[in-house]
């Protein structure tokens, strides 16, 4: 295979990498005043990357000595990641202008992290996986701390960085264990090695390695007990960054986790299924209970995302095509709901200052009925009430789990979803039934209102596009099980 055919596979990544570097140069010469231009160009670049992904090869093909793989699964995920990034970047535009985040590095760092994520989902080797994760994480650490004048932002960045470094260490340690006991880092070789189960003498080493890798990836998807960073970082980071954190990296990490578990470690299904069940239950329960006492809406969203990741892990735990399909569907739905919710959060602004307390939403239905309806739709959807998008996410995940006979997991998941409905519905109740507080500012920027409206439509009418999305997810999921 010559270099040209290999490059054919990485056009989207190449496009983003090259543009990011060019934009960096432009920014360096033109200074912070070019922020807006660079942001829009970045959005366009990601749009182009999206197109390139769509135009890319359909059949699974790998490049660079099997380090890099392109298949329907990775394509589907890349589109999700790019969509999430584009939407959050659009959301960030008015916010950055208003809050004085003029650093031109903002969109560029975001581009680099997206590049990292795309490499993560296309990784076909433990080393490539590590590279992707690190590229993504390093950009995110900086993004979290981008408001240098804010103590909270700096604290968030630092916490994220230290804990991220720890998890990287855990990941690397796990990888060395696996390499030490099997002599391979490529996914294809590992898959071959485990296809008949593990030999007795390998078992302890490989299992310990697997657990370490799992833990490190669980950190990335902020599953319990590796979730501790999430609330603090979400609260401290600038809101558009929080939105980005809660969407694209989560999706990338979840996709990566699925691929790692199902492809190279597919033979160890029995072993890792228990772990996934455990962290799934822990995440769902913790996400449901811990969120109840929160007063800050960004913190609430942190716990909410922990809970959602728990639900996604239910799909993964079933280890079937249907389960993986449900994972992809859930992530898609999650993307829309979360972007919409964060668009609403970004619209919570009074006297030109962001408001993050949940109480401030009281009586919103009287002062801003449109936003109230949108936020109500998102909350109902997150709580999983039919016929909104969130319901289908949960429905297919649990259906897969029941088909895999994971009854306990399903029951606990349903109970957790009931508990979590409490805090979603409390927001609705606050908005409709409580005494109104002062109005929010009206000028929220047309980008935000546009995205709010769009996402609420998608969330409400998801049932129309449900079957096509499911079909794509099925194709993507089956490419893993080849």
């Amino acid at each position: 295979m010559n270099i040209l055919t290999e490059i054919n596979l990485i056009w989207p990544e190449l496009c983003i990498a090259l543009s990011a570097m060019c934009l960096l140069m432009i920014g360096a010469f033109r200074g912070d005043s070019s922020n807006k231009t660079i942001t829009w160009v970045s959005i366009c670049v990601m749009g182009v990357a999206c197109l390139l992904v769509l135009l890319g090869p359909n059949n699974p093909s790998s490049a660079f000595n099997n380090l890099f793989i392109v298949d329907q699964f990775s394509n589907y995920s890349k589109i999700l990641i790019l969509m999430g990034a584009i939407l959050t970047l659009i959301l960030a535009l008015p916010y950055n202008l208003r809050e004085g985040i003029h650093q031109f590095e903002f969109p560029i760092l975001l581009l680099f992290s997206v590049l990292g994520m795309m490499m993560m989902v296309s990784a076909n080797d433990l080393i490539a996986l590590y590279l992707g994760i690190e590229l993504q994480s390093l950009s995110l650490y900086v993004l979290a701390a981008i408001r240098r004048d804010s103590i909270k932002s700096a604290e968030a960045g630092l916490k994220y960085f230290v804990l991220g470094a720890l998890s990287s260490g855990i990941l690397l340690y796990g990888m060395t264990m696996v390499y030490g006991f099997t002599g391979a880092t490529g996914f294809n070789e590992l898959e071959l090695a485990f296809s008949n189960g593990v030999a007795k003498n390998q078992f302890i080493g490989v299992t310990v390695g697997l657990v370490f890798i799992l833990c490190a990836l669980a950190f990335k998807v902020s599953a319990v007990p590796f979730h501790m960073w999430t609330p603090d970082v979400y609260e401290g980071a600038p809101t558009p960054i929080t939105a980005f954190f809660s969407i694209a990296p989560k999706i990338a990490a979840m996709i990566l986790l699925s691929r790692v578990l199902l492809e190279p470690f597919g033979g160890l299904f029995i072993q890792w299924q228990q772990v996934i069940c455990f962290i799934s239950i822990a995440s769902m329960a913790f996400g449901a209970f811990a969120a109840i006492n929160q007063t800050n809406i960004k913190r609430l969203m942190a716990y909410s995302s922990i809970g959602h990741m728990g639900f996604v892990l239910v799909g993964l735990a079933s280890g079937s095509i249907a389960g993986l399909q449900a994972v992809l569907l859930y992530l898609t739905v999650y993307l829309f709901m979360n972007v919409g919710t964060f668009a609403c959060i970004l619209a919570m602004k009074r006297d030109d200052r962001m408001v993050e307390e949940i109480n401030q939403l009281a009586g919103l239905s009287r002062t801003n009925p449109k936003m109230t309806i949108a936020l109500t739709v998102f909350m109902f959807s997150m709580a999983g009430i039919p016929p909104l998008a969130g319901f289908f996410g949960k429905y297919f995940v649990f259906k897969a789990a029941i088909d895999a006979e994971l009854y306990t997991l399903t029951v606990i998941g349903l109970l957790a979803s009931v508990v979590s409905a409490f805090y979603y519905l409390r927001i609705v109740k606050l908005m409709y039934f409580d005494e109104a507080v002062d109005k929010f500012d009206r000028s929220i920027g047309k980008e935000i209102s546009f995205i709010t409206i769009g996402m609420s439509f998608v969330t409400t009418l998801f049932i129309i596009i449900l079957w096509p999305v499911l079909d794509f997810a099925a194709i993507a999921a089956s490419s893993i099980f080849l």
């Binding site: 630092l158 007990p225 209970f289 109840i292 508990v419």
Partner: protein
């Protein structure tokens, strides 16, 4: 035409009910009255058609339930029996609607009232046009609901609310029997369609099933259960207590629901199911006895009451008893005949008394009336006509229907039949007596009206008198006109296949000894004369009689202590039980363990979960490492086992 007859009242009810507030009182009255009058006119044609040809017709509206062997459709089923009922219901209802325009003219909630009335009429029509038990039950419950709503129409009156709830609960008891009956029918017949039930009934007759180790006759059980439902709706002894209290509702309601139509639904149901009841002779005997006792017992209470409407209410109860023992001895046509004539003269009496109450400015106590005839000549004369019909004076409608019932009872030659005959004779005497007691106390003799009311007493407006005239015409003529068709020579052709009589009791009734035929009329006349003696000639005798019969009088005056007995036996224990369950079961057990307990533990967990989040980096790192350790330990344990 069939569909229009049934659904016009519903149309009126919907328009007046949903848009009444916007349309105003006048329009609401028009949109309910006009459809009903049209319906009433159509029903005349229908009666003529079906009565003349004796044929049947079914209009399928749409399928309601279709599960395995249970297939129920919404239908409009017409035969002669249905046509008679539809005729009675729409005519009386139409008259009551017109009357209400005048009677309720000062009420602030006219649209609601008219809407309920029309809705009631629709449910009643659904009940009588059903060809299966389920739709009948739908109508049955619907009329019960409307009855509840209309008794409690003046919802600001506590007594009205209490009466409404009482009516509803007592009816629930009856309905429970009815439901059990329907379930039993479905269990044994595997169908709820009348036609199929009737086909199978002769085969099932005499078969038994085991219940608590006892062999029980299937048909008898079913019929008795259904009869319990009829007892509740038709206020038979034991389940009658709600009817007198129901007089708390506006008088037009009493006339329509609690005299002419709804309370006769029980009679109709048994007649409709005659092809099944005929094969359950024991059940029929029970019905005869219950009917006879009700006729007697309600009449005794009627002798003593002072409230003008209560007297008529007990009279209704008593007359329903007549209908039931007619059914019990197998004289179904006689029962329906009496049902029709009774509907006319009893509605007339109620509306007449309503006219008196209206003229007296809401006074109902007969002790405060007297000598009103000069002030209300038309109302007074019409009340006379109604009473003549009720007492069974020859040529008036009640004479024909009551006589054929008593003759049938006599002709049946069974013990229960003879008991019913003699109870009926005594009740006939009392009926005549209390009717004239009512007339004399209200219209004749010396005036006991309070001074300030006396000047304001007035005759009712024409809008209330015209319905009275129509009903009066019915009370006079319906018996004479219909006797040949209902129970005479043309009977077989008239009823067609709608009623089954194994034993030709009506034919036998025409051949009983002369004295037995004459006796009802004679005791009626004696009753009238004695009322005249006691209340006009020498009123001073009454206190002496009352004193002489002290305990008996008190017993009767207090309505045989039924209410007190029920209060003691059922109501109080229910309250105690309810309070016990609420305190110990709901508050202590369910709330503390259930909702409140769960909510509290969730909050507790939430607090703890929040505390874990300390904000210290090393805590977080520690948690991660612990997590890794736990997972590895778990695996290694799994491995070594």
């Amino acid at each position: 035409m069939l569909t229009a007859t049934i659904f016009l009242p519903l149309l009126g009810a919907i328009i007046a009910g949903l848009f009444g507030n916007r349309l105003g009182s006048r329009v609401s009255q028009l949109v309910t009255v006009i459809p009903l009058l049209v319906s009433a006119i159509l029903s005349c044609f229908l009666l003529y058609h079906f009565g003349w040809t004796g044929e049947t017709q079914t209009v399928n509206l749409f399928t309601w339930i279709n599960v395995e062997s249970l297939e129920i459709s919404w239908v409009i089923y017409f035969d002669t029996l249905t046509a008679v009922m539809v005729f009675v219901v729409t005519l009386v209802s139409g008259m009551v609607h017109v009357y209400s325009i005048g009677y309720m003219s000062k009420d602030p909630h006219i649209p609601r009232f008219m809407s309920y009335l029309s809705l009631f009429t629709f449910f009643m029509l659904m009940l009588v046009t059903s060809n299966n038990l389920l739709q009948m039950f739908f109508g049955w419950e619907g009329v019960g609901l409307c009855s509840y709503l209309l008794i409690g129409f003046w919802f600001k009156k506590n007594s009205a609310n209490a009466a409404a709830i009482k009516a509803f609960i007592v009816n629930r008891i009856g309905d429970f029997g009815f439901i059990l009956g329907i379930l039993a029918v479905f269990y044994f017949f595997e169908t709820l369609q009348f036609a199929e039930i009737f086909k199978i009934a002769p085969d099932i007759a005499g078969k038994t099933f085991l219940f608590l180790g006892m062999e029980v006759d299937i048909l008898t059980t079913i019929c008795l259960l259904l009869f319990v439902g009829a007892m509740g709706k038709s206020a038979q002894i034991g389940l009658h207590t709600w009817l007198p209290d129901a007089m708390e509702g506006p008088t037009p309601v009493s006339a329509l629901i609690h005299a002419a139509t709804m309370v006769t639904a029980g009679v109709f149901m048994v007649v409709r199911l005659s092809p099944m009841f005929e094969y359950a002779p024991f059940a029929l005997t029970i019905i005869t006895i219950i009917g006879a006792s009700t006729a007697f017992f309600a009449a005794t209470i009627g002798l003593t009451q002072w409230d003008i409407k209560r007297v008529i209410a007990y009279s209704t109860c008593s007359q329903l008893g007549y209908m039931f023992f007619a059914v019990g001895v197998g004289a179904y046509p006689a029962a329906i005949f009496h049902l029709m004539t009774h509907a006319f003269f009893k509605a007339l009496l109620f509306l007449g008394s309503g006219s008196v109450i209206h003229g007296m400015h809401d006074e109902q106590d007969m002790r405060k009336m007297g000598g009103l005839f000069s002030k209300m000549k038309i109302t007074g004369s019409l009340m006379w006509i109604g009473s003549l019909a009720l007492a069974g004076v020859p040529l008036f409608s009640g004479y024909y229907s009551k006589d054929i019932i008593l003759e049938s009872a006599f002709a049946s030659h069974t013990g229960a039949g003879l008991l019913a005959y003699w109870a009926g004779i005594m009740a006939a005497f009392m009926t005549a007596f209390y009717s004239w007691r009512l007339l004399f106390l209200t219209f004749h003799g010396s005036s006991r009206v309070e001074e300030n009311v006396l000047d304001k007493v007035h005759e009712s407006p024409p809008i209330m008198l015209i319905p009275l005239l129509v009903l009066g015409l019915g009370a006079v003529l319906s018996g004479w006109f219909a006797v040949d068709y209902f129970v005479g020579d043309k009977m077989d052709q008239f009823w067609g296949s709608s009623i089954l009589m194994l034993d030709d009791i009506i034919e036998k009734a025409h051949h009983i000894p002369g004295w037995a035929i004459l006796l009802p009329t004679v005791v009626g006349v004696i009753g009238i004369i004695s009322a005249w003696v006691l209340y006009i000639k020498s009123p001073s005798i009454i206190p002496r009689i009352t004193a002489m019969t002290g305990p008996v009088y008190k017993f009767i005056y207090n309505k045989w202590y039924f209410d007190e007995l029920y209060e003691l036996l059922f109501v109080r224990p229910c309250f105690y039980l309810g309070r016990g369950f609420w305190r110990s079961g709901d508050v202590y057990v369910i709330d503390t363990v259930g909702p409140n307990g769960i909510a509290e533990s969730v909050l507790n967990l939430a607090k703890r979960a929040g505390k874990v989040q300390s904000g210290y980096l090393y805590h977080y790192a520690f948690a991660m490492m612990i997590g890794v350790l736990i997972l590895i330990t778990w695996f290694l344990f799994g491995f070594f086992q």
